[in-house]
Amino acid sequence: MKCVIEGNGVKVFGKAVHALSRIGNEIWLDPQEKGLAVRTVNSSQSAYACFCFTPLFFQQYIPDPDIQNGCEAVKCMLNMKCVLPLFRCASWKERRVDRCEISVNIPNSRVIFQFHCRHGITKTYNLGYQECEALQAVFPAHLCPNVLMAQSKLLGDIVVHFPVSQEEVTLSISSFKVTLKTFCEEENNCIKGMNTELMLHPDEFDYFQVGEDSAVTFCLKELRGLLSFAEPYGLPVNCQFGVAGQPVSFTVKDMTLEAHVVLSTLTDPNHESPSQPAPGDDCPVNVTNTSTAEITTCESLWRQRKMIQLHAPGEILPKLSLIPESALTTPVTPATSKIRSLLFGAVYSDGGKDKTADLPSLACASDTEDDGGTEE
């Protein structure tokens, strides 16, 4: 793979890397015909982000020089800590990068970032990568009953009311209003902290569709990266979601790139349909949510965060498969009120109407067969 990004584009690419760094510790590069997909997922697989840069974004874009032989472009996984410093925005003024070349050196397993700067200075960084399969979230956008589209400035104005340290927020939608409020798991926590709630009228949104009244709770921190990326460029943000437990996706689109953030949401123990068999679930009957992690302490109604369904065509990603089965039975102490499921390929349920295997993957479609690798 080889691509060249000119001046301003380098800044945009750098901001994308910054946004991704708010979510995960690794960065996946996936050069495809339709563009370079740069992705990340957080360690608990509850947040996924993908920036797909179309060939228009680049001065030059060659997914794979060897494409005639039918070779697939190599997919690389890099440590975020290695990539992020290369795009430190602080030194933009001094750097004045004219262009950046990114290429993959397969024999040495290196991704080469070469910055051609002012005064003839060239900075070359050789980063070691781990070869792996691409990582995509399966997200049936067309099945989302609720869709909101707003200017990124509006969303920025909304989230500013919440403290930066605030983790979870609940987005509620009904036909006459949209609310965003702080979420706290336990009653005790609420007493210490402040609760904030913001109510908006549907008219404030550029597009408003409510198919089903719902309230979804997700991690606001993980969204902030995308919002800080979109706001300077004045890009509108598209938000799609369903009922509690189904992931929520935020999309920003432009001619040259498309950015997605998919966040899992907390399930609502009261409404969860027990359509999935619980693997060795020995919880009391109260907790009807059974499709994700096992719970060994069930004193109260634990809300669970469903995994984002990740689809890796072919084999399981070497990194993720290292999650031992025993992790599923890790007891949850009362202190950890949020349970992260580690079940790779958790079955995603929307009431059992559709089979998950038929769901199309997120925009950056892999060109390998979708062989239903979601079933485990």
Partner: protein, 284 residues
């Protein structure tokens, strides 16, 4: 117990926010005392705070368009709430361009001061942001802890030098010593002194002026005049003095300090309709 208040003027809102911000920089927790005419932010000197006390008084009519209070009982028509001013500050921060801000006492999972701001929006319907600030209601039997502090029988009262200057002097002295001596006399002279094994530094201020307290009995009981050159001093923890100076967001119209020799440093700031008093105990 009921409390409802509303601010609709943006200038009043900004001013109120500045006061709350100042208080939040001085202490993490304080008591908000509400009466029909005033609001008070009170910190009563305790060992935990190093003996520092604070009394900030606002006249409600200068800020609020509507103010309704129903206290604990008819003869005690006041409400005392323990609150973290930082929460209050945070809630007000993003409401600076609000069309109106309503504050009321509510009961959610615990008693709260609910602040609801009506914000400008892109549609005909305003955006409403609500913050629930948890508070603790203080029972009547503890109210005596939060009485207005008496004006101490001070030895010297003097106007402070320009805050900016004083702050920069204190900031630099803080690097050298943990304690600072503030001394002043009735001749308008003030010295800030630090002394360590290696070095001693004194900054002299002259012609500051002394507030004319008059014969309201607050002066020392002895009828003889105090020697105008005689210095009264208080040795205080420099961090506490610095914290007080750092917290000020606006230049007060009047800034003065009363010194009870070797006992207390009493700082008074007056700005328009807000008065702020801060007591720092002297250390040996």
């Amino acid at each position: 117990m009921k409390f409802r208040a509303k601010i609709i003027d943006v200038g009043c809102l900004n001013h109120f926010t500045r006061v709350v911000n100042t208080v939040s920089r001085l202490t993490k927790a304080c008591v908000l005392r509400l009466t029909c005419d005033h609001l008070y932010f009170v910190l009563s000197g305790r060992v935990a705070t190093g003996g520092v006390s604070m009394w900030c008084e606002l006249s409600q009519v200068n800020f609020f368009d509507e103010f309704q209070l129903e206290g604990v009982s008819a003869d005690a028509n006041e409400i005392f709430l323990e609150v973290a001013p930082e929460n209050f500050s945070r809630a007000l921060k993003t409401a600076q361009n609000a069309k109106s801000v309503k504050i009321k006492l509510t009961k959610k999972t615990c008693p709260c001061l609910t602040l609801a701001a009506e914000l400008p929006s892109l549609s005909s319907v305003s955006r409403v942001v609500t913050h629930d600030i948890p508070v603790d209601v203080i029972p009547r039997r503890l109210w005596h802890d939060f009485r207005e502090p008496q004006m101490p029988d001070f030895d010297v009262s003097i106007y402070l030098p320009p805050l900016k200057t004083m702050k920069s002097v204190v900031d630099r002295m803080k690097n050298l010593s943990n304690y600072l001596v503030l001394e002043a006399n009735l001749n308008g002279e003030m010295n800030l002194k630090i002394e360590t094994d290696l070095v001693s530094v004194t900054t002299h201020f002259k012609e500051l002026g002394n507030p004319p307290w008059g014969d309201d009995g607050s002066q020392s009981s002895s009828p003889t005049h105090r020697d105008p050159d005689l210095m009264a001093e208080a040795r205080v923890d420099i961090k506490k003095l610095q914290q007080f100076l750092m917290g000020q967001q606006v230049n007060p119209s009047k800034a003065m300090c009363n010194i009870v020799h070797r006992r207390i440093l009493h700082l008074i700031f007056l700005h328009e309709d807000v008065s702020l008093q801060y007591f720092i105990p002297a250390v040996v």
